[in-house]
């Protein structure tokens, strides 16, 4: 197990009291696995990523039975220990890549920062030369052939796709074991998105790198995704093998999301109503008690005011008192 998160709860103090923005989240990622985390905006997906990276400020209260990366407990690291992991074994790329590049430095300068001293040998000048060579290699690896032009460019001169490639180049500088991709393609058109996904799939195949992909949309995930985790309003609804989960969703939330997908729509008679979930996502001030999907769930019964436990069945996990599609197993 590469990343092991058990019962992760992240809370924030608000004027009306402490709110569990993320509640008892479980997430496991194996070596060499592409894992996609799907949830609407505000569901806390990025919060998980930030908790792993250690980006959350003191105003967030993090609690977990386990937040482990390999044998490191990510909750109890000194700054120095964290730096030995973050940027080396765990790397991250972001949505809106351009804003993650320093506007006043050239691409070459920013990529050189990602090359760590420990990978270089020799004196100051020799290291400088190696660093520049490594940067050119990195650019070639992400498919940027005209490196001389790119090296002297500033971020504002790049397209969104090119900026994301630079971010990827910087992230893979140390062949990380885990790459967290936080909606890396949400602002791109489908062609560029496929390019970026192809690139990620390539590094996954070549280095055996695990990828935690965070996405808003079931329709825009990597086709190589092996496992899916569905998150709604800070609670994990369901997780499991991609194919099985999409074929036989156990959780009403997954079912509802699938109903809105293009594929299922094509099977319905023309002009029929799109079967969306009733209502809107709850705000952090008015979270439902128990299962947070409750008020919107077509299958909800009184018992749903108790938070359902996370039941595991073979490779699948779900948090629902009344799961769907379980008859065949019995």
């Amino acid at each position: 197990m590469l990343l092991d998160i058990r019962n992760l709860t992240i809370a924030k103090d608000t004027p009306t009291g402490r709110v569990n923005v993320l509640e008892r989240v479980n997430l496991q990622i194996n070596e060499g696995e592409i894992h996609t985390l799907v949830g609407e905006s505000g569901s806390g997906k990025s919060l998980i990523a930030r908790a792993i990276m250690g980006f959350l400020s003191d105003s967030w209260h993090i609690q977990a039975d386990r937040l482990w990366f390999e044998e490191h407990d990510l909750l109890n690291l000194t700054a120095k220990q964290r730096r030995a992991i973050i940027g080396v074994d765990i790397a991250m790329i972001f949505q809106d890549a351009k804003s993650y590049l320093d506007p006043n430095l050239t691409i070459s300068e920013q990529l050189q920062e990602a090359v760590l001293d420990q990978d270089l040998t020799g004196g100051f000048l020799a290291r400088r030369k190696q660093r520049k060579e490594r940067v050119v290699q990195l650019l070639h690896r992400v498919g940027i052939k005209e490196h001389s032009n790119m090296l002297e460019s500033y971020p504002h001169e790049l397209s969104e796709g090119a900026a994301q490639k630079i971010m990827i180049a910087s992230a893979i500088a140390h062949r990380p074991k885990l790459l967290i991709a936080d909606e890396p393609t949400s602002t791109m058109e489908p062609a560029t998105r496929q390019q970026i996904y192809r690139l990620l799939a390539q590094f996954h195949a070549r280095y055996g790198m695990s990828i935690l992909l965070i996405s808003q949309d079931l329709g825009a995930i990597m086709k190589e995704t092996e496992r899916l985790t569905m998150i709604y309003s800070g609670q994990v609804m369901e997780s499991g093998n991609t194919r099985e989960l999409l074929d036989q969703p156990h959780h009403p939330y997954t079912e509802a999301l699938l109903n809105t997908s293009l594929y299922r729509q094509a099977q319905r008679p023309p002009r029929s109503r799109l079967p969306t979930l009733a209502g809107t996502e709850p705000s952090m001030q008015h979270l439902p008690i128990g299962c947070r999907l409750g008020p919107r769930c077509a299958y909800a019964r009184p018992k749903c005011v108790q938070t359902p436990g996370f039941s595991k069945k073979r490779d699948r996990g779900f948090a629902c008192h009344y799961p769907l599609n379980l008859e065949d197993d019995a």
């Binding site: 940027g87 972001f94 804003s99 506007p103 006043n104 920062e113 760590l116 500033y154 992230a171």
Partner: protein
């Protein structure tokens, strides 16, 4: 970049030309005779007829302006109506004295202000931040002239730690060459040089410190706000994501970007500094441009007013344009905003 450079330089030239036009017009607008106003020579003087001829008194306003420009470029800026000293030489001598305290004060303001601002931003809403903010707010609110007099009263008179006014103890007999007292002592090489430098240093402490307060407080606030803004930017996060230490993220990414906002405000800060320098010079009898100009305004010393205005405006203008050019040269996206290319 070269196009921007040309545009800034042409702006400089046009503004300088307008300044000469204004200074020339002042000669006509002031009460009294135009020739006396610009040259400082009274009609009773035997040189008056000759001067009137040279300044084209009877030849129409265009010729007068050309003659005025000619005198301006030759360094003949007229004589002071009060003491008959040549204005240009006086300016050259006093400019050094003004520059000396203004520059030292500015350096102090930057060297202390920027780290304090960064510190306040790093400890946002903690005790350190509150302390620095409170001090900077009160420091900024206290008027310079009041503060200067209180400081003289307590530090110079009550405690007797430093002299009250002046540039140096007159016993040292330093002949002014550059106007800057430290430079003058080094040029003069007097017998007791260390003591002379010590005396000059003691004289300088109070005016320089009081002068430094206002820009320093401003720089602290500017730096804090700009640093807070930069620290919340995404590229800071990605610095940490690369595994850089806090120090490296601050030094490589936060500081340069935060300085960009501060640099933009420094031009405005310098005109404030120059205004304050004049007040300080009057209070501390510092023999600089400011005290001399203030006296000339009281005494209706028209040639001095014209010359002094020209020099001070030109200096502020030059600094502003130099800052603009630096800004465009240093920051690529500014260049892009300016004319859409590199």
């Amino acid at each position: 970049m070269s196009r921007y450079l040309l545009r800034q330089l042409s702006l400089l030239l046009v503004t300088l030309w307008l300044l000469t036009l204004l200074a020339f017009s002042l000669g006509h607008w002031f009460s009294g005779d135009f020739i006396t106003n610009t040259s400082g020579i009274f009609p009773e003087d035997i040189r008056f007829a000759e001067t009137a001829e040279a300044r084209a008194a009877e030849a129409g306003i265009v010729n007068q302006y050309t003659a005025y420009l000619g005198h301006l470029f030759r360094g003949d800026w007229g004589l002071s109506l009060l003491d008959g000293e040549p204005v240009f030489e006086q300016i050259a001598l006093r400019f050094g004295a003004t520059l000396e305290i203004a520059l030292i004060a500015f350096v102090i303001a930057i060297v202390l202000g920027i780290p304090l601002g960064v510190l306040a931003a790093l400890y946002f809403r903690k005790a350190v931040d509150h302390t620095i903010l409170t001090i900077s707010l009160s420091g900024y609110s206290i008027p310079v002239f009041w503060f200067a007099q209180i400081a003289i009263l307590i530090i110079a008179i009550q405690w007797g730690l430093v002299p009250i006014a002046g540039q140096i103890n007159p016993l040292y007999e330093i002949t002014p060459r550059s106007g800057s007292i430290i430079l003058d002592i080094l040029l003069e090489q007097p017998e007791h040089m260390t003591e002379a430098l010590h005396s000059a240093f003691l004289h300088m402490i109070l005016p320089v410190c009081i002068l430094a307060i206002m820009p320093m407080m401003l720089i602290i606030r500017l730096m804090r706000n700009s640093m807070l803004d930069v620290l919340s930017q995404n590229y800071i996060t990605s610095g940490y994501a690369k595994g850089l230490s806090i120090a490296r993220v601050l030094w490589n990414h936060a500081l340069p970007n935060a300085m960009q906002h501060v640099m933009r405000q420094i031009g405005a800060l310098i005109s404030l500094l120059i205004t304050n320098t004049m007040i300080i010079e009057v209070i501390f009898s510092w023999p600089g441009l400011g005290s001399w100009l203030v006296r000339s305004i009281y005494e209706r010393d028209y040639p001095v007013i014209q010359g002094g205005l020209l020099v001070i405006s030109a200096v502020i203008l030059l600094i502003t344009i130099a800052l603009n050019i630096f800004h465009a040269w240093r920051y690529p996206q500014v260049r892009k905003d300016l004319y859409g290319a590199n």
